[in-house]
């Protein structure tokens, strides 16, 4: 098998701070934050940031979150899913407000990135859509939309982050718990998305562990070589 090496050098940022400029709670599980980052290092679409909370006695808690904004966006956008008992996501969902300052470190990660260098197919689920939203926004800003194809999977339209934006950008959206137009609730079938694999040089999979193994199998069934697949998975991290 070929090596998952030869990654393009990606920017790596250091610790800095970000001030919340906009904060939107979407349903009871999602919070969208837009931050003004001091001394920001521009990211590549697909990279992530670490966000750290600090208690008065110096105790800290930190988690990684994918960036949803394109590098051209003056603000850094994160979409955070609130997990049960989540120490960091719970704070962001329940306590955080405009004007709060958080410690941030980023961008991080040089593997799960796309800047238009390859024709790519992304199969993403739930909050796994977030890094691909950054890729889509970048593609639209730079006329690269013909190089990026997206299959986004969610339980319902309300639970799928950025659902309207994904549909508008031409993503194939599959909902598993409700119908979408003529499409009956179901995970994506190979036949539905097979055409999207034509000419694909690279594939991206992002989602929960269970989703990632499903998506990897699905890509195999439509003829995408496993050594072209880049995966980002999240387990239970709150």
């Amino acid at each position: 098998m070929s090596a998952p090496a030869e990654a393009a050098p990606a920017p790596v940022g250091h610790w800095t701070t970000g001030t919340v400029v906009e904060l939107e709670r979407l349903g009871d599980r999602l919070v969208r934050l837009r931050l003004d980052v001091a001394d920001r290092t521009d990211h590549l679409p697909g990279q992530h940031y670490v966000l750290r909370l600090r208690a008065p006695d110096g105790y800290t808690a930190q988690r990684s979150y994918s960036v949803a904004s394109s590098p051209d966006d003056p603000l850094l956008e994160l979409m955070v899913e609130c997990l049960p008992g989540g120490e960091v996501s719970g704070h962001l969902h329940d306590v955080a407000d405009v004007g709060d300052v958080f410690e941030l470190r980023g961008p991080i990660g040089g593997w799960f990135t796309w800047s238009g260098e390859a024709t790519a197919l992304c199969v993403v689920g739930g909050t796994g859509v977030v890094p691909v939203v950054a890729m889509l926004r970048h593609a639209r800003a730079h006329g690269l939309t013909d190089r990026l194809r997206v299959v986004a999977v969610g339980r319902s339209l309300a639970e799928l982050p950025y659902a309207a934006e994904l549909i508008e950008a031409g993503a194939f959206v599959a909902l598993t718990r409700e119908n979408l137009g003529d499409r009956v609730a179901a995970p994506p079938y190979p036949e539905e998305i097979a055409a999207l694999a034509d000419g694909v040089e690279r594939a991206y999979v992002c989602g929960s562990v269970g989703f990632a193994s499903y998506a990897t199998r699905l890509l195999g069934e439509i003829g995408v070589r496993s050594d072209t697949i880049r995966i980002e998975q999240f387990g239970a991290t709150g």
């Binding site: 998952p4 600090r54 008065p56 105790y59 990660g109 387990g235």
Partner: protein, 203 residues
């Protein structure tokens, strides 16, 4: 750095002192994190090669590796994505046993662990010797699952877990350090969780 408004860190109560800074206890829930598609390797097809800066490069088959003196690790593991799992049990063979047979050259100072997927990770030789590293094929008394790197993965539990390469098939001893896969992608060359050596530029 600023104190976070409204954050007292109350959920740390009962936090074990064994947790390195910035880590939380994931309980028995072992998250699966990989950058590449999971390979399927039958034990009878798996081999481990020790080569590079050694006197006697050698390859062991599954049966030959199992015929070596066994070794068990009982303790904690720490992932850079901030989860730790406490009181794990892994069984396999100590890396010391393989190195004793291969004979590191005096100038060997680093090791590159290679996986059959092409994944690589670099470590100082001193971090895989003197009872600090294993090749493991058993977790909690059962065969190591493919999603966790089975049939055989490297285990270097005192460093962040990306150093414990899944699906390991080669230990290449080196006289000079060279960055592995995540190390080229912004992660730390050593990865000591107690020093929070997560990314390049950390102490």
């Amino acid at each position: 750095m600023p104190v976070t408004r409204g954050f007292g860190g109350g959920s740390r109560r009962g936090r074990p002192e064994r947790l390195p800074p910035g880590q939380y206890d994931t309980g028995r829930d072992w998250p699966v994190l990989t950058a590449e598609a999971q390979p399927r390797i039958a034990p009878e097809d798996w081999t481990i090669t020790v080569d590079g800066a050694v006197e006697r490069p050698h390859t062991w088959s599954w049966r030959e590796a199992h015929a070596l003196p066994g070794s068990t690790y009982f303790g904690d593991i720490h992932c850079v994505t901030t989860w730790s799992m406490l009181d794990t049990t892994f069984a396999g063979v100590s890396v010391d046993t393989l190195l004793e047979l291969a004979g590191p050259q005096p100038e060997a100072a680093y090791v590159m662990a290679h996986s059959s997927t092409g994944y690589t990770t670099n470590l100082p030789l001193a971090d895989v010797t003197d009872g600090k590293a294993w090749l493991v094929w058993e977790y909690d008394g059962r065969p190591l699952a493919a999603e966790h790197g089975g049939p055989v993965r490297l285990l270097v539990p005192h460093l962040y877990f990306w150093k414990s390469a899944k699906w390991v098939d080669r230990l290449e001893l080196m006289t000079r350090d060279r960055p592995g896969f995540w190390e080229q992608n912004g992660y730390h060359d050593r990865g000591d969780p107690w020093l929070e050596q997560r990314y390049q530029g950390d102490p």
